[in-house]
Each structure stands twice: as structure tokens, then as C-alpha cells.
């Protein structure tokens, strides 16, 4: 078995020795440098732009402003396109904006011989604005008379949806119900991938070529073509190695603008690289979502009814829009099944930067809200939180009517067993209650809900190509992308497994090029081992069948008497090696009678989805006078089905846990209420957690093979980021008795809450 082995990453040596080529490494010398002139106001109409001083700076080649770009609008979200106009992403972007909708919006761009000339020119551009009032909070933005961002969206509502089930009004009349009525606040945060957004573009052969650090080359091609108003085939996107994306690069970021700029300078090579400050202020962020959850509960903890209102702060443009909050809304009546629910969610435009995809896609927000209230319910009812969850969480056998997802195993209890045991939860939870003193300890937990891929909301598809070399090794190509998570290694293991060749004989073509790479939508929705897995297995099985068919010519054995094992054609009846794949491939390619180049390509649509569940536990130490929290121990336990590569899976989970610790305790983008400007858009002032802030990150797995999956796999990319924030919140509650309703639980919040509760 090759699937299931912790094979070292195929890109490890090159990455460790600095040989791996990222986008910037591939940009030819002599490229022109583009820099963007960002607005220094939050909401305004651009009245005029004086570019004369900028154009006079030596080295400046061209200044392009919002008055020079096409009038039509385009979408940016990294979703599969839909042929149903009502399901298409919202087109609300221009390449440069005359109507500035957030502080830092793109107003003009400079193309220069070098970075210094470009920067000087950006500073020399003079812009006259007609300032408009702005609004930063979604509940304010929704009110009548609030500043309007987009004329076609009254009250700034991008979308409102409702989930209604049972009869809430009647259900809450049941005598003896206990009502929990809480508000939860989550922050705007940024992905902080190491490699900033970067791309370069040039024209050649009458087409526009763009090399970009993106998770979604095929989707980006479509977005670029839409933005420029050209046929989609006239655009080519190349995706080299990527230094992290976490969803930020699941969006067309500056590829459309860069592609446009090259057309303004006769197709010369133009590079557009975001500085770290631009990654913070001008790329995408995770939506801040506010929840108001009212739950009516019986004394035994049974949820009788639940009413949820939630507001997602979309920022200035639609990007991924309502999909984010909708995913969380859908999870609520599934994670803790409840017969009577009314869930309303609004995605609202405001004058902050644009919310897009970020690891977890709405689930970190809702998991914090729901799992915090779950803890409060258990606490108030005097039920220990572990037993409460075991009793009320989604049971084995649950089937969701819409997605047809099914919980085939007792995943929750199995993962809870491992997590509770590691943290010694039951003993410590009791021991830590009712502590006194300045320094107190606590344990907390959270379960999580996730699914895999985007079916049935959107198209799920992946395509795979295998090309055999004369030595019997193959090139493997898929549209699904390596962005640092280890996808290439997992894909190679899958191909080797099904085709029956050694792992070393699979040469994956890591870099996608939309001119040659089979269609795949890319890295998002924790879909790749599931979706690409099906494409790889389907392709490998057909390829194998074809190889055995042609092997007949040399072996004279019936195909059904042969198999491929360890790179050889073997006779299944007695296990004899008949010939190596290399011999076959070589003879066939140069066969003067009837030659053939062995290749196979297969496009696979996926019409299933899979639940991916588990839990997290944390132990914390709270220093009450100092208003600080130290995480002493943390564990995530996942049932992600079969693990293709356990060592990589473990690393993936640890990365997610690290992000969750920052989300829990320190990360928050702060906007000046007076100006709308982002205050802490750099790696010093934005408190990304460091490894000095982490305990040992423990990871355990339950491997229940997913029945619908080609290799038994299901989502593991995003779920790791879900449980720790609420687990830490619940651990602080266990330690101090103080419930928190807001992230991050940074010293500012603890100072406020401990003061209110009289602890300091």
C-alpha cells in the first residue's frame, strides 16, 4: 500500500534547499514594475486625477487611472462558473475604481522601469475626491438612510437567506423551557500567507499570459477574461509553486489588473507584487460575523427550538459573498439537530476591505458562537460538557436531506474519547472548578462540523492526465493545486497505488498551466483529496485497463489474466512477471508495426459530498491580573477518513491549530472608526500568533474510511482551524467562571470582562 504511508513530501528537498521556483523567481529580468495608487479616503467619488507629476518622474512608463479602464464589471470569487445566471457570482468590480468604497481602494496604477520610480510616481499622483459618508458595521449599514455602496443593492444587503424548519412559535410555548439568549462577535482577520499576492503578465501570440501565485488557475483565467472582456481562450494562466494561500488566493486578486496593464504598454512584461501592507489592506479577509442565538432547551439539555440572526460584514465588494455565512447557517441545525429552527442571515456591504474565502469558510465563526453557547447550556444545566455533547450532537446515521451527506460512523464519540483522554478532561474539568487566586487553570472543548467540496451547491469536477514515458514512469497532471499543503505528494501516492507502479515512478507536473493542464477548479473547500482523488483513480483504472489491453500484443496473455504490480505486467494466475512497464512502453512507442504513445485523460464529475467531523480540547492558564491566557495543551482529533499520508495530515492539522490559536487569542484587524482606515495592517501590529505562543500541538486521528470517496478520504484542509477558539474560550470559563462572547480573547477583552466581574 502506498496510500496510507508517510512518504516524505516530494517537494521537500527542493524547498529546503531553496531550489523551488515561486512566481517572483520566474519573472524575467527587465520586467516593468506596476504599483497601485490606493485611495486615502474611505468612501468617495474620484473627481479628477492629476498624473502629470507622476509621469514626469524618470523611469515612469505609463500611468493608468480609473478613467482609463473598461466600464463593464466582473466577478472575482473563486467559485466554479454557473451557467444559471441567478447562481453566478456578482459582477461588481472595475479594474480601477471611480467610486472608492474602502480606504485603500484601487484608483490608479503606475508602470515604471523599477520599483523606486513606480513608488515615487504613486506618491506623486494627485487625486481630487468628493467624500461620502461611510459605514463600517453591517447592522448600521442595513438601516434606512445608511451610506449606500452599490446602487443595485438597497440597504447594502448583498443577500438575505432564511432556513426555517418546524414551528418555532408553537414549540417555545412548551412549559419549563430554559431560554439562552446570547450575542457573539467574531473579528475580521487576514490569512497572512508567507508569499504575498504576486503575478506578472505579458502578451505573446495575440494572447495574454499571466503567471500568478494562485490557488485556482482555471478559475482565474475565466475572471481575467471577463475583466478584460476577451474570449476565455485568449488568456493563459500559469501557477508556479505557491507560498500559502489559505483562501486569500481563491479569488482573482490583481491578475485582472496586471493583465490589463500589459495591454497598455504594448504587451511588455509587467510585474505586480503586493507588499505585505497591501496583502493586509487590499487582498481578502475573513468575514466578521455577528450572531444572535436564542435557544430554548429542556432541563435534560434537549434543544427544542433555536432562533438565529446573523450578519456578515462583506466589506466593499461581493467576492465570495453570501456563501460564507450560508455555510455556517446550514450547519446549525445539523451539528445539534433541532426540530424547530428559524435562521436568518444577511451579508451586508460596508466600507471595509473585501471579505473572501479563508480557511474554514464561515465555520470558524459559527463554531465559536454555537460551541460557546453549548458550553453555557451545559454549565447552566449542571451537565458536564463532554456528556452533554455526546448526548446531543449529531448521531450516527444522520442524513442531511440536501447534501445527502451521511454520518456513517460514531465519529463524534470516537474522536471525543481520544481528545478527552489526552487532556484528562473529566478529572481536570472538576478539579478546576471554583478556583481562587491570581493564576488559574481550565480545560475546554469543542466539536466541529465540516463537509467536503461544494457539491451540490456548485459544480464539483476534476480532470486527470497520465502520460507514460519510455521507462514506464508517468507524468501526472491534475488541475488541483499544490499550495504548500502537500497535495502533490498525496496525488502521486494515489496514482502509484491505483496504477500499480512505485511512488518514484510518478512524476507529478506540479505547476498548472491552463494551456495544457486538464480542467480542475483548484485548491479550496478541502476538496482536493476527495475530488482529485476520484479523477486520479478513474483515470488510473482506465489507463491500467488500456495498458493491459495493449500488453496482450507482446505477452499474448488475455488482459483479464494480467495486472500491473510494482511497475511490472504480472500474470495473476501464477504471479509471474511477464515484462516491465518500461519494456512495454519502450517497445510500443518505437514499434514499427503499430506504435502508440501511452496516455490517458479523464474528466470526472463528482455528485457526492462527505461529512468530516472531530473535536478539539485545550488546557489554559489564565493570569487574571495580567489579563493573559497561556495555552498549556491543545489537541485536535479528526475523523478525516483514510489518511493518504499520515505525516502530512498531522502537519496540516497543526497548521490549522496554529491559526486557531491566533484567531482565539490575538488576531483582529482594527479599523479607525473616525477614518475607516485599517490601523494594524502589518505583521508587527497585527498579532499573528508565533510558535512562542503555542504549546505542543497534539493531533490524533480516527480513520473511518469514507464510503463515497475513491481513497476513503474526506476534508482535512480547513477543519483543523475550527475547534480550538471555542475550546480555549470554554477553558477560560472553566478556569475563571467568566464567559466570553467575543474573539479574539485578547488582554483588552479580558481586562474589560475581569473588571466587570470584579476579578481585578
Amino acid at each position: 500500500m502506498i496510500v496510507g504511508k508517510s512518504i516524505p513530501r516530494i517537494d521537500a528537498a527542493d524547498k529546503a534547499t531553496g531550489r523551488t521556483k515561486y512566481t517572483d523567481d520566474l519573472c524575467a529580468k527587465g520586467a516593468l514594475v506596476a504599483k497601485i495608487c490606493h485611495s486615502t479616503v474611505t468612501h468617495a467619488l474620484v473627481k479628477s486625477i492629476d498624473t502629470s507629476a507622476a509621469e514626469a518622474i524618470p523611469g515612469v512608463v505609463k500611468v493608468v487611472t480609473c478613467f482609463d479602464v473598461p466600464e463593464h464589471m466582473f466577478p472575482t470569487a473563486g467559485h466554479p462558473w454557473s451557467t444559471d445566471p441567478s447562481h453566478q457570482d456578482i459582477c461588481d468590480r472595475h479594474l480601477l475604481e471611480k467610486h472608492v468604497r474602502y480606504y485603500g481602494d484601487d484608483v490608479a496604477a503606475v508602470i515604471a522601469e523599477d520599483e523606486i520610480a513606480a513608488s515615487r510616481a504613486v506618491r506623486a499622483i494627485k487625486i481630487e475626491y468628493e467624500e461620502l459618508p461611510f459605514v463600517l458595521d453591517p447592522e448600521e449599514a442595513i438601516k434606512d438612510g445608511a451610506p449606500l455602496l452599490h446602487e443595485t443593492f438597497p440597504n447594502n444587503i448583498l443577500k438575505h437567506t432564511e432556513i426555517k424548519k418546524g414551528n418555532l412559535e408553537e414549540a417555545v410555548k412548551e412549559p419549563g423551557l430554559i431560554k439562552f439568549d446570547d450575542w457573539f462577535e467574531t473579528p475580521t482577520v487576514q490569512h497572512c500567507h508567507i508569499e504575498n499576492a504576486i503575478c506578472f503578465a505579458w502578451e505573446e501570440g495575440g494572447r495574454i499570459h499571466v503567471t500568478s501565485s494562485t490557488q485556482i488557475p482555471h478559475i482565474t483565467r475565466r475572471c481575467v477574461a471577463q475583466a478584460l472582456g476577451v474570449d476565455w481562450g485568449l488568456v493563459r494562466i500559469v501557477k508556479p509553486f505557491v507560498g500559502g494561500g489559505f483562501g486569500d488566493k481563491q479569488d482573482a486578486l490583481y491578475e485582472p489588473l496586471c493583465a490589463f496593464l500589459t495591454t497598455r504598454v504594448g504587451g511588455r512584461l509587467v510585474k505586480l507584487e503586493c507588499q505585505r501592507e497591501e496583502t493586509f489592506a487590499n487582498c481578502r479577509v475573513r468575514h466578521a460575523i455577528r450572531y444572535h442565538i436564542i435557544s430554548w432547551v429542556r432541563k435534560d439539555g434537549t434543544l427544542v427550538a433555536r432562533k438565529v440572526d446573523c450578519w456578515s460584514n462583506q466589506g466593499a465588494y461581493a467576492s465570495h459573498g453570501h456563501s460564507i455565512i450560508a455555510k455556517g447557517m446550514g450547519s446549525i441545525p445539523q451539528l445539534y439537530p433541532c426540530e424547530n429552527v428559524e435562521i436568518n442571515g444577511w451579508t451586508v456591504f460596508t466600507n471595509i476591505q473585501v471579505g473572501g474565502a479563508m480557511r474554514g469558510y464561515g465555520m470558524p465563526q459559527v463554531t465559536f458562537a454555537v460551541e460557546s453557547q453549548t458550553e453555557d447550556i451545559a454549565r447552566k444545566l449542571g451537565i458536564d460538557p463532554l456528556s452533554y455533547r455526546r448526548k446531543h450532537v449529531m448521531p450516527k446515521g444522520f442524513v442531511d436531506g440536501f447534501s445527502k451527506n451521511e454520518l456513517y460512523y460514531d465519529s463524534f464519540n470516537e474522536t471525543l474519547d481520544l481528545g478527552a483522554q489526552y487532556i484528562d478532561f473529566e478529572r481536570k474539568f472538576k478539579e478546576y472548578q471554583n478556583q481562587t487566586g491570581d493564576i488559574r487553570r481550565g480545560v475546554g472543548m469543542s466539536v466541529f462540523w465540516y463537509n467536503t467540496g461544494v457539491w451540490p451547491i456548485s459544480l464539483e469536477t476534476s480532470a486527470c492526465r497520465m502520460v507514460m514515458n519510455q521507462d514506464g514512469s508517468i507524468q501526472l497532471q491534475v488541475g488541483e493545486t499544490e499550495i504548500g499543503q502537500g497535495a502533490d505528494t498525496a496525488f502521486s501516492q494515489m496514482a502509484a497505488e491505483t496504477l500499480g507502479i512505485p511512488f518514484e515512478m510518478v512524476h507529478i507536473v506540479s505547476n498548472q498551466d491552463t494551456d495544457v493542464t486538464p480542467y480542475g477548479t483548484g485548491a479550496y473547500a478541502s476538496r482536493q483529496t476527495y475530488a482529485a482523488g476520484m479523477a486520479i483513480r478513474g483515470c488510473a483504472e482506465e489507463f491500467k485497463k488500456h495498458i493491459l489491453d495493449v500488453a496482450y500484443r507482446y505477452t499474448r496473455m488475455q488482459p483479464y489474466l494480467m495486472d500491473i504490480a510494482d511497475g511490472n505486467i504480472v500474470r495473476t494466475t501464477d504471479g509471474r512477471v511477464l515484462m516491465s512497464l518500461g519494456d512495454l512502453s519502450l517497445r510500443l512507442l518505437y514499434d514499427m508495426e503499430q506504435n502508440e504513445h501511452l496516455t490517458m485523460e479523464k474528466s470526472t464529475q463528482i455528485k457526492s459530498n462527505a461529512y468530516s467531523f472531530g473535536c478539539g480540547f485545550a488546557e489554559v492558564e489564565v493570569d487574571i491580573p495580567m489579563c493573559t491566557v497561556k495555552v498549556l495543551k491543545a489537541i485536535n482529533v479528526h475523523d478525516a477518513g483514510t489518511l493518504v499520508n499520515p505525516a502530512l495530515a498531522r502537519a496540516q492539522v497543526q497548521g490549522g491549530m496554529s491559526m486557531a490559536i491566533g484567531y482565539a487569542l490575538s488576531e483582529k484587524m482594527l479599523y479607525d472608526p473616525k477614518t475607516g482606515k485599517l490601523l494594524n495592517g502589518n505583521l508587527l501590529d497585527y498579532k499573528l500568533s508565533t510558535f512562542m505562543d503555542h504549546p505542543e500541538l497534539e493531533v490524533k486521528f480516527v480513520e473511518n474510511p469514507e464510503p463515497t470517496s475513491a481513497y476513503g478520504t474526506k476534508a482535512l484542509g480547513e477543519p483543523p482551524a475550527l475547534p480550538l477558539a471555542p475550546a480555549i474560550r470554554n477553558a477560560i470559563l472553566n478556569a475563571t467562571g467568566v464567559p466570553l462572547y467575543e474573539l479574539p480573547m485578547r488582554p483588552h477583552l479580558l481586562f474589560k470582562r475581569f473588571s466587570e466581574e470584579g476579578l481585578i
Binding site: 515615487r120 491580573p625 495580567m626 498579532k687 499573528l688 508565533t690 505562543d693 488582554p747 483588552h748 481586562f751
Partner: protein
Amino acid sequence: MYDIKALYEAKSVENAIELMKEHPEAKIIAGGSDVLIKIREGKMAGCELVSIYGLDELRGVSMAEDGTLRIGSLTSFSHITKDPLIKKYIGVLGEAVDMVGGPQIRAIGTIGGNTCNGVTSADSASTLLAWDAIVELNGPEGVRTLPLEEFYLGPGKVDLKSAELQTALLIPKESYENCAGFYIKYGMRNAMEIATTGCSVNVRLSSDKKTLERLRIGFGVAGPVPRRARKTEEEFKGASLEAGLPEKIGDAVLKDVEPRDSWRASKDMRLHLCSTMTERAFIEAVSRCGGEIPEKA
């Protein structure tokens, strides 16, 4: 790519002064961990620089005959942390500068730069101030010295005259003898952090370890520039080490500090932290000096 108009590399302190006289608009660059950031942000774009980074004569820690500790202005944070003289006599300074940024910044950042940038949050500043450090300056008029406290004029402003260069920080023997200290940096994370507020306390105890002979408290981010808690220091000079003393000192410093509200932290929170940090740093400093504060009855 940095937008620098010209870079003049000084060959000696005298040469540096000459270069600054020749190029009055030029700024001094040492390790560059502040200057390069400002250039990148555009604030100092197109500037002229006089680099003193090659002046090894300004590097290292030494002791004069009278026992004065001399820290050359170009000495890096990581050097200070590892230096045997610092470890022996004012270990707390080595600990304080070990909390600056990350390893790369500590290797390039200098103690001279950390004080000449006039920043209230500088990790070295509160400790140097609490140990009555003296600044040595060299300029066209020759060498002069002044207490670090007087060197600070306002946020980002220090008493550097035209073409003048800071060459050393001096800690007199009287300042460190029989004395021990403790620094607490309050940040929002444990590395790569700028102090939300910082507190450096050092004490000298009587020979029987029962009485507080001298108390010195330095703060960062408790005012526009690093500052001392002079009133509190005076009030508790000669106090007996008795139960409740740390809390009293912690409360007392509130009249010495004047932090402000900012988006980084509220005034109330900083005031609370000033008290808490003083209390804790005091307990640690006493313990390092061989003293013990009795438990409350």
C-alpha cells in the same frame, strides 16, 4: 529595493562627524532596523545616509578603571545578552534586549539606535533609565555626556545636536553595585512584539536584606518618552520588606505614570498593568537581591 539617494560609509567617529557636517540632510544608519523601515514606508524615501555600521570602535562592552560599564552604541542586542560583563553586573539589561523582535532583529539592532530613535516602547530604554545610564555623545564640539533621562526630549526626539553621534551608554559603578533588577515586557504575543508597556525595577537592599535601601523603577509606554517613577522611588526608600509592600508600590506608581488611550490599549488598561507589573517586577528584583517579602498573614 530601497529609495536611498546616497550612502556615505564612515571610516571613524571623526569621519562620521565630518560626513554629517558635509551632508547636513543625511541621517545616521546603524543596524537599519528602524531606518530601512521608514525608507520603505516612504517616510524617508530618497534620503541620504551616513552609515556608522562599520565602526567597530563603537562595538562591545567594557569596564573602565573606576568600574563604569561602557556599552558601545553599536553593540547589538544579541551581543549584549551574551556579554559576560552584562551578565555579571546588569543581567536584566541582557534579558530586556533579548525580548526585542526576533533573533534576526536582535542580531542587527543596536542599543544606540534603540535609544536614539526616541521611542517610548524601546525594550532597552526602561532598563537603561532605571539604572541611571549616561549617554556619551561625540560631535563637532567634542565629547559630552548627559543622563539618559535628559537625552529624551519628546516622542521620537532626542538631544542630538547637528552632526552629533551617540558613541556609548555608560553605567556608573554606584548605579549597579549590590543591585539587582527585573524587567517585564507586556506584549500581545511572546515574540516579534513591541511592548504595550514595559516595567524595569531594580533594588538595593540593606546588608541584613530587611530594608529597601534604594528603589528604581523605569517605564516604557507610560508616557511620551521612557520615564522613571520618581515619587514612588522616593516614597519607599528605606521601607521595610514587609507583607503588602509590593502592592503598595504597585498602587503608588499610578501617580508617576501618564499613559494615554490609543488603539493599541486603553489608558485604564495600561494603568492597571503598570501597577501589576511594578508589583511583580519588584518581588522578582528583591528575590534576585537575596531578599524575601513575607507572606501576608
